[in-house]
């Protein structure tokens, strides 16, 4: 069996090869595809923290993905038209600076994760799933009925937000920016799960009653991971908005939550690179089967059924059968 860490290196190499092919054959589309995979992979890493390591089956992560996206698009819109974002209590204008937008997307997504987590984590199982789904759908319908920012039609961005000294419109530059964020997300996840807190988190997933009996506040443990998870997914949303230069309510829809969950399950739950593999597999299916049929998701469904029946540890698990805390 190939060890997970060895396999991760191959995944990393593959990530670099795809844009290289794009450059060699002058096909920027490949670079864009690889960028999309990385961004969706980051969203999956966010969900994997809560779902994979914390056992929190959130069906509302589209909310954080969409919030991140709308933060990027709204700031950009106000930067372009010069209108103030708020006048009271402080006059705040928009900006197209990624260095401001990223932290803002992270903070606002984290804030919403905190609010949603405070209410939803008092439940468990199917109730938790339904509450997270309900919150995301509330935000989805809110975005539809928000004409100032495009309503149902969504909101276009004139150009990508900017970064000092870097042309973010260049596909390769933007790919590298996303790659850096990907590794930051991996680094944070890795640090969290290997810390004493990570131990408490993974134990809570397995046997919450026992963890409580040793004096650990499991509610706090779950809330922290939910906030980190939402913040990372929100960051992915802001990158996704910049990639497409467009946001729409579909980013907040439950379909998006389902897709992020599919990345995690396909790649391997509680595998650090799993969501990236899942996202890559998903995009490959979309790009290949999508050429032949509009209903390519039928085959995705079939693959998911087979995976759940025969390979629950996902693609990563096929290469490394180590016991994990799944």
């Amino acid at each position: 069996m190939i060890k997970e860490q060895f396999f991760n290196k191959w995944v990393f190499l593959l990530l670099l090869i795809i844009p290289a092919i794009g450059i060699i054959f002058n096909e920027p589309y490949y670079i864009t595809l690889a960028t999309k995979v990385i961004i969706l992979g980051i969203a999956g890493i966010g969900l994997n923290l809560a779902l994979g390591y914390g056992g929190l089956i959130s069906f509302g992560h589209a909310a954080f993905f969409g919030i991140g996206g709308y933060v990027a698009a709204i700031m950009s819109k106000h930067a372009l038209n010069g209108e103030l974002l708020f006048e009271i209590p402080l006059a705040i204008s928009g900006t197209s600076e990624m260095l401001i937008i990223w932290p803002l997307a992270i903070i606002i997504s984290a804030f919403f994760s905190l609010l949603i987590g405070l209410l939803s984590l008092r439940t468990s199982g199917v109730y938790f799933i339904m509450i997270t789904l309900a919150f995301a759908q509330m935000l989805y319908y809110f975005s539809i009925s928000w004409p100032s920012y495009g309503g149902e039609d969504g909101l276009s961005m004139h150009m990508r937000n900017t970064l000092p000294f870097i042309n973010t419109m260049n596909p390769l530059n933007f790919f590298l920016i996303c790659l850096v964020w990907f590794f930051i997300a991996i680094f944070i996840t890795s640090k969290l799960i290997n810390s004493p807190y990570g131990m408490a988190l993974q134990a809570t997933k397995q046997n919450e009653e026992r963890v409580k009996s040793v004096g650990i506040e499991t509610f706090k443990v779950k809330l922290i991971v939910f906030v980190f998870s939402g913040a990372i997914t929100g960051l992915a949303g802001s990158l996704y908005a910049d990639l497409n230069r467009f946001v729409s309510p579909s980013m907040l829809n439950w379909h998006t939550s389902g897709e992020i969950m599919v990345f995690v399950i396909l790649g391997g739950i509680a595998r650090i690179y799993g969501p990236l593999l899942g996202a890559a597999f998903f995009i490959i299916l979309e790009q290949t089967l999508g050429l032949y049929t509009e209903n390519w998701q039928f085959w995705l469904g079939l693959i998911l059924i087979l995976e759940i029946l025969f390979a629950r540890s996902g693609i990563m698990g096929l290469f490394d059968k180590k016991i994990n805390y799944e």
Partner: protein, 250 residues
């Protein structure tokens, strides 16, 4: 009163019309093992759950070390010094035996919410955990995944988890169930040592072990305490014979 660390007064719990615990008054003194015996379904485990806070009481009070903990939740009670084992082994199945003990040490060492420091850099935690494994004679099984431990080893691990918390009192719910003779002897020796630091409220069906260990014994039947006394007093109590022991004690 002063030599009592745990004082339970009139603790009651009903599920519908069924009184599981009925005005139970019981105490635990420093340096003692107080055994709670009774037939199955008498309310022993429910009493433990009420003391640790996982089952809400209908009435009564619980005082631990002169502090009223009646209104505290289960986590708060564990934090201030109530440590338990479960009737059916409850461990972290995919952690190793060593990791299970480390988990139990986290809260006392205030490391639970260290978010970015590597767990492996906490060498003190691991050495403490190894010492506990030594006490429960599982040191050579430290790297075994807990779900792969035998039943007896899991019972020992449960006790190890409780020990790691360095509590004010131990509540042990049938810790010797399923242990072989050597395991039972080990537990008896261990309990006799640890009671000097933290007294033990012990539920146990192995009467030999109870009579070897207990400083006092209380008998619970249909949710009521019917007798409390030393081992000799309980052995000689005819009511206890009628309702529980059912045989002549020699």
């Amino acid at each position: 009163m002063n030599n009592q660390i745990l004082n339970i007064t009139n603790l009651s719990k009903s599920f519908g019309a069924f009184k599981v615990t009925d005005q139970i008054t019981i105490d635990l003194k420093f340096n003692e093992i107080h055994a709670l015996i009774g037939p199955n379904g008498a309310g022993k485990s429910t009493l433990i759950k009420q003391i640790v806070g996982t089952v809400k009481h209908d009435m009564g009070s619980i005082i631990l070390d002169q502090e009223d903990i009646t209104d505290l939740n289960d986590v708060e009670r564990a934090k201030i010094g109530i440590s338990r084992t479960f009737q059916v082994s409850s461990i972290i199945p995919k952690f190793t035996a060593l990791e299970n003990i480390v988990l139990s040490l986290l809260e006392k060492s205030q490391k639970t919410f260290q978010l970015f420091k590597s767990l492996n850099s906490n060498s003190k935690l691991f050495s403490e955990a190894k010492e506990i494994l030594l006490q429960i004679e599982l040191e050579d099984r430290s790297k075994v995944i807990a779900s792969e431990l035998s039943h007896g080893e899991r019972r020992k691990l449960e006790v190890g988890l409780a020990l790691a918390m360095k509590p004010k009192v131990f509540l042990f719910d049938e810790p010797m169930a399923g242990l072989d003779e050597i395991g039972t002897k080990m537990m008896i020796n261990l309990f006799q040592r640890i009671k000097l630091n933290s007294p033990i409220l012990l539920i146990e069906h192995d009467m030999d072990a109870v009579f070897a260990l207990a400083d006092r014994v209380s008998v619970i039947v249909y949710g009521k305490i019917v007798a409390t006394g030393t081992v000799e007093e309980i052995k000689a109590n005819p009511i206890v014979h009628d309702v529980y022991l059912g045989y002549e004690i020699t």
